[in-house]
């Protein structure tokens, strides 16, 4: 392992217009500073030729993180969203990135490590070959991770996945002292502008060319990787619970739209952006009345507990709103419907 040369990074190197954007600091095998023995190791590589087929037959090229340490072949295969990371609060985590092609980073969004473990190239470095990010999550809740190189493009291409931190008690408890749950569902909302996916250039636009990355007109909409034509039936989207069970929804807006959510069941938000509510004296859990829309902007998370009091099928609607006009995207078609079925 090489010695750390901080002058070649954004930490002590000279930051210029070029290092800020077109030619950011990059490192291979940079030694993780203040490295300590990990409790858990995860690793991510990338797959940049993963195609999914839309209901209309269009092939959409995705770039995803993959998990080479997964126990099953299916777990090691490319998937969208990228494979979930799941840790226990207090564990020391080593999250290793091994880009197979080009430079990338991992930003563990909502986790608060030191600067070089935060995954932003222009204040530290991007990873050409292998870097181990080190952190120790101190809060239980819902987070995510994504590539922070040319983020506008790489995040949209699919280089993100969920990151869940369980309390020491493990899954089934939202946070120590917080609610318990029986049924857990990740609802990750995303939209894609298929035109953006036709450009294979990882560095698109970085050095001055106009590649239209200021204009986002999504034409496909997803709930946890499911196209919106199947979200009322696909088990990745639909929640099935028995009466008397407590449901936890881990909700992420991974789209570039303003997300409006309307649920036919009342819920309570117990964690916002990874911070439990009601622990400190300055906040309390947030009731979410049934059929009252609430807004989440890009990258926000809500951990919502629902305790149904009757059997039935309860619709949930997500509307993807344009960030300028406020109108439903794709001429009103930017909608995802799903259901909570209580039996």
């Amino acid at each position: 392992m090489q010695a750390a040369d901080w002058t070649k990074t954004g930490v002590q190197g000279e930051v210029t217009y070029a290092t800020f954007g077109c030619n950011p600091f990059q490192e291979s095998n940079f030694p993780t500073p203040d490295r300590v023995k990990p409790d858990v190791n995860v690793e991510r590589q990338m797959e940049v030729s993963y195609d999914i087929t839309a209901p209309d037959g269009k092939k959409i090229r995705l770039w995803t993180f993959t998990d080479p340490l997964a126990r099953t072949e299916a777990g090691r295969a490319p998937m969208y969203p990228s494979p979930t990371m799941r840790f226990r609060q207090g564990q020391i985590v080593h999250s290793t990135l091994e880009p197979k092609k080009n430079a990338h980073t991992i930003h563990h969004h909502g986790i608060e490590p030191t600067t070089v473990n935060d995954g932003v190239g222009h204040v530290s470095f991007e990873v050409n070959a292998r870097y181990t990010y080190q952190f120790q999550p101190t809060r239980a809740g819902t987070f995510f991770y994504h590539c922070h190189r040319n983020t506008v493009k790489h995040f949209e291409m699919g280089m993100f996945g969920m990151l869940i931190v369980d309390p020491p008690e493990g899954p089934g408890t939202l946070f120590s002292g917080g609610p318990k749950y029986d049924v857990e569902k990740i609802w990750c909302l995303d939209d894609m502008d298929s035109r953006w996916h036709d450009n294979p250039n990882h560095d698109a636009g970085l050095c001055g060319e106009d590649v239209g990355l200021n204009i986002f007109r999504p034409d496909y909409f997803f709930l946890s990787g499911v196209f919106n034509n199947r979200t009322t039936t696909d088990p990745r989207a639909v929640i099935n619970a028995k009466l008397g069970e407590t449901i936890l929804i881990r909700l992420l807006n991974a789209s570039y739209s303003v997300l409006e959510t309307t649920m036919a069941l009342p819920g309570t938000c117990h964690i916002m952006d990874g911070c439990a509510l009601g622990i400190e004296p300055w906040n309390a859990p947030l009731p979410l009345p049934a059929n009252r829309p609430f807004i989440m902007s890009t990258a926000q998370r809500r951990d919502i507990i629902i305790r149904p009091t009757a059997r039935g099928t309860f619709p949930v609607r997500f509307r993807f709103l344009d960030w300028i006009t406020g109108q439903v995207q794709h001429n009103g078609r930017g909608i995802v419907d799903t259901r909570i079925i209580v039996s």
């Binding site: 800020f20 203040d34 030191t114 932003v120 204040v123 004296p281 947030l286 902007s297 990258a299």
Partner: protein, 374 residues
């Protein structure tokens, strides 16, 4: 065209007459002289775009106007543009002028209301004149901002909620927040982030004399530049900080900077037309206030800790960046990794991270620096 101000930004700006980024215009005794002027303003990629801006006597573009609650405020506005304009501060109905003809002058006089962050704008032909650049920050400091226990806050005591009191009393006085209380009247502890966007095509049409229908602006708005206090990307943070750094203006008023335990207020406002989703690394922020549709300020009864927050057009929110130790670093203070810890803040609706259709991340981004541990 020739008589217009010609405004460059960043390192190349030394020696030119006008500077587009916001500067503090405190210590004026509540008296301000503003002009409305047409300028050619340089974008981060070197392109010049027609803009309209407020200036003050110091030739600083979009001055930050700072007053104290209860003070009588006088703002003289002289319209040096060739088109009629107006003046208004949403949330302060008395601070309003319906129209000022070309070459004309108008005065608003009002008593500064409860403390908080406001936007002054040209509300005429809304949203056209605002998105051409006619906006700035108007900040009201409290006459009495301390909690009953004496902890300073940026908000009037009469508006304090139990949540505000609990949070500011905990600063510098609890296991979680070792270090200082918030320090008022210190530009290093009081930052301003006014977001905006620029659509060069609409600007070009106005410059060419076209009467752009205000109702057509939102449906046709295609922003190509995204800014904090008029600055984008590399220009929106000082990259060489030393004893001469001026924290009252330009990138210095944007970038939070201090050691662990120096909590800092951030006044986050959106003068543009895009709904932003600012995201901060390193610490979460505490959301203290937000503006209501009427323009009035709502002080939080439940203060949420957020790493991303919606900021729709004309929204104003006061935030507290606690300067806590990065809570998920297993080794603190770090032994191998040198200070400063540097963490970005960027809008996560990532189209805002571009300039002229690419150039990531020369858009709506800055960072904050933690220079040392306690």
């Amino acid at each position: 065209m020739d008589r217009r101000k010609f405004m460059k930004v960043g390192a190349a700006a030394a020696g030119v007459a006008a500077f587009p980024a916001m500067a503090s215009a405190q210590t004026t005794g509540g008296m301000f002289d503003l002009t409305i002027e047409a300028v050619d303003s340089e974008m981060i990629d070197g392109v010049f775009v027609f803009s309209l801006m407020f200036f003050d006597r110091s030739e600083e573009g979009r001055p930050i106007l700072e007053v104290t609650e209860g003070e009588v405020v006088t703002i003289n506005v002289t319209n040096l543009d060739t088109r009629p304009h107006g003046f208004g501060i949403p949330g302060i109905p008395a601070a309003s002028v319906a129209s000022i003809p070309p070459g004309g002058k108008a005065t608003v006089r009002f008593t500064a209301p409860i403390a908080g962050s406001y936007l002054y704008i040209d509300p005429t032909l809304a949203p056209l004149n605002r998105i051409l650049g006619l906006y700035g920050a108007f900040i009201v400091h409290p006459a009495l901002g301390t909690t009953a226990s004496g902890s300073p806050t940026p908000l009037s005591r009469a508006t304090h909620t139990p949540a505000i009191t609990a949070l500011f009393d905990a600063l510098g006085n609890s296991e979680r927040f070792p270090g200082n209380k918030w320090v008022p009247h210190d530009v290093e502890r009081d930052k301003v982030w006014v977001f905006s966007q620029v659509d060069p095509l609409i600007a070009e049409r106005v410059d060419a004399g076209e009467a752009v229908p205000p109702a057509s602006v939102v449906p046709s708005f295609v922003p190509r530049y995204f800014m904090i206090n008029g600055l984008s990307g590399y220009d929106a943070a000082p990259h060489k900080v030393d004893a001469t750094t001026d924290w009252s203006k330009g990138a210095g008023r944007i970038m939070p900077h201090g050691r662990q335990g120096q909590p800092t207020v951030i006044r986050n406002m959106n003068a543009g037309l895009c709904s932003h989703s600012p995201h901060i690394h390193g610490n979460h922020v505490f959301k203290l206030t937000e503006s209501l549709p009427s323009g009035a300020i709502s002080v939080a009864t439940s203060i949420y800790e957020l790493d991303s927050w919606p900021l729709p057009p004309l929204s104003r929110q006061d935030l507290l960046l606690p300067f806590e130790r990065p809570r998920d670093a297993p080794v603190w203070p770090p032994k191998d990794e040198p200070f400063p810890m540097r963490y970005v803040m960027h809008c996560h609706t990532e189209m805002s991270q571009t300039a002229a259709g690419g150039n990531y991340p020369q858009g709506l981004v800055t960072h904050w620096e933690m220079t040392a541990s306690l």
